[in-house]
Symmetry: C2
Subunit: 272 residues, 2 copies
């Protein structure tokens, strides 16, 4: 089986893959963008893809919802990964030897407290987190550090200078597994829905009232742009339920009073 991830081996997507699948029996497709990740599933090159959909601090990655919808893909599972940023560099290098740390803006921001006192280190924004680590290892670059998940240092033969340098230890990313087709199991208790509503006062409230009537618990709602319909929004909603029949009835009722209703996936709640 081939599974697509965003980024390279050593990224947080790869970390999520190693926790969801047996890496010895999975071929990994490294995709440099989320667009390429989705294309890999659409073309059949990969059977599944792992995609970050929200972070507990930064919130939802709305363009990724758009990609799932545009290509009619299904969310078949979710996984919550604890985000740990670890400062790595070439073996032999210590904190005092570093003059630069290269990482994604978000990772640098999430580790700002650690670097406040390290005035000798210049923080450099990069488009990726794991990639700078790979470059440091391949080109044997001294004086430069990178921020990577736990386990990545071993992958690149780099040295961990400081563990868990993130400001906030409560930092998780929610990943979803996406596939071409739904993949329903018996223990489904969560769903992601998309719908549009008529542009009249109270129409969103009516849909949410229906959900409550059918014992669906709304955990999250996002407005996302409708393509080619400027400044009009569709709604993406996560609901949880105890009985899948409740969900089926609710979805039927919601479909009757909304526009373009879509079930984007039914899956098991991944929170432990």
């Amino acid at each position: 089986m081939k599974v697509a991830i965003q980024g390279i081996k050593g990224s947080n997507h790869y970390k999520a893959l190693t926790e969801l699948f047996d890496v010895d029996h999975v071929e990994v497709e490294e995709c440099s963008t989320f667009q390429r990740l989705v294309s890999s599933v659409v073309t059949g090159e990969s059977q599944k893809a792992i995609m970050a959909i929200e972070n507990s601090i930064a919130g939802s990655i709305l363009p990724n919802y758009r990609l799932i919808l545009d290509y009619n893909l299904q969310i078949t599972a979710e996984y919550y990964l604890n985000i740990s940023h670890n400062l790595v560099a070439l073996p032999g290098q210590e904190l005092a030897d570093l003059v630069q740390v290269k990482s994604h803006q978000m990772a640098l921001h999430q580790c700002s407290y650690f670097f406040t006192d390290q005035t000798h280190i210049h923080l450099i924004e990069d488009v990726d987190t794991a990639l700078p680590a790979q470059v440091i290892a391949q080109q044997q670059i001294s004086g430069v550090g990178a921020l990577v998940p736990k386990g990545t240092a071993e992958l690149f033969n780099l040295n961990v200078i400081a563990e868990d340098v993130q400001n906030n230890s409560l930092n998780e990313t929610r990943f979803v597994v996406i596939e071409k087709q739904a993949n329903l199991s018996d223990d489904v208790n969560k769903a992601t829905l998309q719908f549009e509503i008529a542009h009249e006062s109270g129409s969103l409230a009516r849909v949410l009232n229906l959900m409550a009537d059918h014992h669906l618990n709304l955990s999250k709602i996002q407005s996302i742009p409708i393509p080619n319909n400027i400044w009009k929004y569709a709604f993406i909603v996560d609901v949880s339920f105890q009985n899948e029949l409740h969900f089926q009835k609710a979805f039927k009722a919601i479909s009757a009073i909304s526009i373009n209703p879509t079930c984007v996936g039914q899956y098991k709640n991944g929170k432990s």
Copy 2:
């Protein structure tokens, strides 16, 4: 007056500034991150800041809502800017001379159709749009192009190789002006609210029902993380209204049934 923007002169934030203010009478503070932009207002270094809050294709920039809330800032105005990507390079350079185009991932993605046939051009992701153009100009780099808003080529003495290379001409970014204090005018007809709700079925529906009862038109709703309360969300809502009294009464009623209700700003609808 000093106004902070994200990015440098020549960026879309700068373009928005030139349309909102008289540049001859405004000092511009260039901020490399949104965090620095917000800090500039908080410390009083800048009186106002211009911040992108959503794009008509990519959707809301949720971390920017978080920044506004974390620092108790107020949205005092909004502005919608048409996004135009223009391919520029050193004078004398033509499309056939380019081997690389450097830009932000989002800009490259939004111009993908144009580059499909330009197989001699390697697209390189950068952390910014205007910055690669500035570097090309300052270091006189041949063979490399950048994607910039209209008017930026003149600023850097670069040559426009192709105008409006974006896939979708319906591409607008909504910017908000943020300040320390509210700045109410007579023609206020829109507001941004934040609130949390009790974790019980139907509680969001109850708030939306109240809004409809008070003649508020909900145009947009987003779930954003509550800091240090993992996987719990607050809601950010944009509402429009014809009568400011309706809004005041609605906000009072919503405050009675929600947690931590905040008016993040009242302002005039910026849509023309």
